[in-house]
């Protein structure tokens, strides 16, 4: 699948107005979203793909090189995304309560990391050299088993890098998904080695952008990215939205390298 995208930076003072304007444009109320996003980075499994040295024959080396290049060249950052609710923030962990063995507050809401649903979201680096003024990239999503994703991910050769929370409002305008979002960081400084089992209260989360600005992302997902016609049509629809929002916000193509998911 492909997606075509446009982005805009929304200053904090404009956020509320833009919400209203988008609600008017799309004729729907915003759907509030909170997502945990875990960033994983592929790593080279040591020694796994090392070519045989010494007695290797010349005929094989060409194939081997190609194979090496293919396996080692395609290493990417990838995201594991889990939807959460506001109640999940600052809630007690389920397992803790079990260990205490005390059930004094059975009605208290608990964040259940063991049953947290996840989905793997792969995004390729945006296509280079397209003449069109939209960002287009290959993408795919698939759901993962609920609960702890670490074993699964490390088995696939991925290291946990970092995690953040994305908070935002979602609109759907025809086939355009408009997501007005901002990144929240966890209050601690040191980087964890694995996803958090428990989440701090939402008010302790710090926006990455201190002034409180938001990012507007307008995207269209195209099933068949190789079909030039549909890709062109999707870009045109995005341009239409850009025209409609022209007086409010400037939607533009993102810098390709800022969306570079290749792991170096």
């Amino acid at each position: 699948m492909h997606e075509v995208l446009l982005f805009a930076s929304v200053p904090a003072h404009q956020h509320y107005e833009l919400l209203q304007q988008l609600a008017g444009l799309t004729a729907m109320q915003p759907r509030h979203c909170l997502e945990r996003r875990l960033i994983f980075k592929a790593y080279r499994k040591p020694g796994l793909m090392a070519g045989r040295t010494g007695a290797s024959q010349d005929i094989q080396s060409g194939d081997l090189q190609r194979l090496n290049k293919m396996l080692n060249g395609s290493m990417y950052y990838t995201q594991v995304v889990g939807p959460v609710t506001e109640k999940d923030f600052g809630a007690a962990i389920d397992s803790d309560m079990h260990m205490d063995g005390t059930d004094e507050k059975p009605e208290a809401y608990r964040y259940d990391y063991e049953h947290q649903p996840w989905r793997l979201e792969f995004r390729d680096i945006p296509e280079a050299g397209t003449r069109s003024a939209v960002t287009s990239r290959q993408m795919s999503s698939s759901s993962l088993p609920s609960g702890d994703v670490m074993p699964v991910m490390s088995a696939w050769g991925y290291n946990f890098v970092n995690e953040h929370v994305v908070e935002g409002d979602l609109f759907v305008h025809n086939e355009i998904v408009i997501f007005l979002q901002r990144v929240l960081q966890y209050p601690t400084d040191q980087e964890p080695s694995q996803p958090r089992q428990q989440m701090p209260p939402l008010k302790d989360m710090m926006p990455l952008e201190k002034s409180g600005s938001y990012v507007l992302q307008a995207s269209i997902t195209v099933q068949d990215g190789s079909n030039q016609e549909t890709m062109k049509l999707a870009s045109q629809h995005l341009f239409g939205l850009r025209e409609q929002l022209k007086s409010v916000i400037r939607l533009e193509q993102a810098d390709r390298l800022s969306l570079d998911t290749r792991a170096k």
């Binding site: 930076s9 404009q14 960033i39 995004r123 002034s211 800022s258």
Partner: protein, 255 residues
Amino acid sequence: MSKPTQEQIKILEQSRQRLVQLTRSLGSLISSLHSSDPLPPWSSLQSQASIISNNLLSVSEQLSEQRDLFTSLVAYPSPEYPGRTQAPTLEQLLRTKLDPRVEDWVARGRAAGSDNGPSQSTIPSPSRLVEAESADHKLSEAELAQLWEWAPLEANQEARRRNWGGNYTLEEREMGIENVVTGLKRQLEDDLGSDEESEEEDEDDGKEEMDIVGVHRKSVGGGLEFDIAVRHPHPVKPFVPLDDILKYMTTGRLQ
């Protein structure tokens, strides 16, 4: 009846040129009034009006200079005239009375002219007053009394259009005085200061109003952005560029 001489034809041709110019400038004024929305700025209307009045002046000069010729000229069709195909033009040329519509216009113009005459002479306008003084001619007792009767009413009417005193104009107050960019370091109070000060500030305010009007005119094209800028007196620009945010969302690091 003799044929018109070369000289006379030239004069006719000149009058025709001037009339063509007059109709053209009238036409352009009408079309600009009809087609442009909003109305064209007053400066362009005024320049068009002055062009028209110049044209009128030159036409009337021509008519009065060549009055003898024009009154003596008689139009008649020569045998070569294509009477069948150009009958309306022929009728137009041969008619001795004015078109009823034109007759109306002329009558209205005459009436306006004769109305204006006496009324101008009864009310002494300031310009006439100046003229009279420069001509060293004393106004009569009655004229002076009339002037005194007229002046206070007129001045009062003019004054009523403005809100006197205070640091802000009505317009600015309606917009909210906190939005007014005074360009002054000190804070202006929204009440009456001492006479001298308020006078000074009235001038200032005048300038400010001009500024704001200017911005409004410019913003006709740019619209909403300007409105936002007004509603948020202290907009905060994002510190982190969009690219860095996207980078963080992609790789988990701000590099």
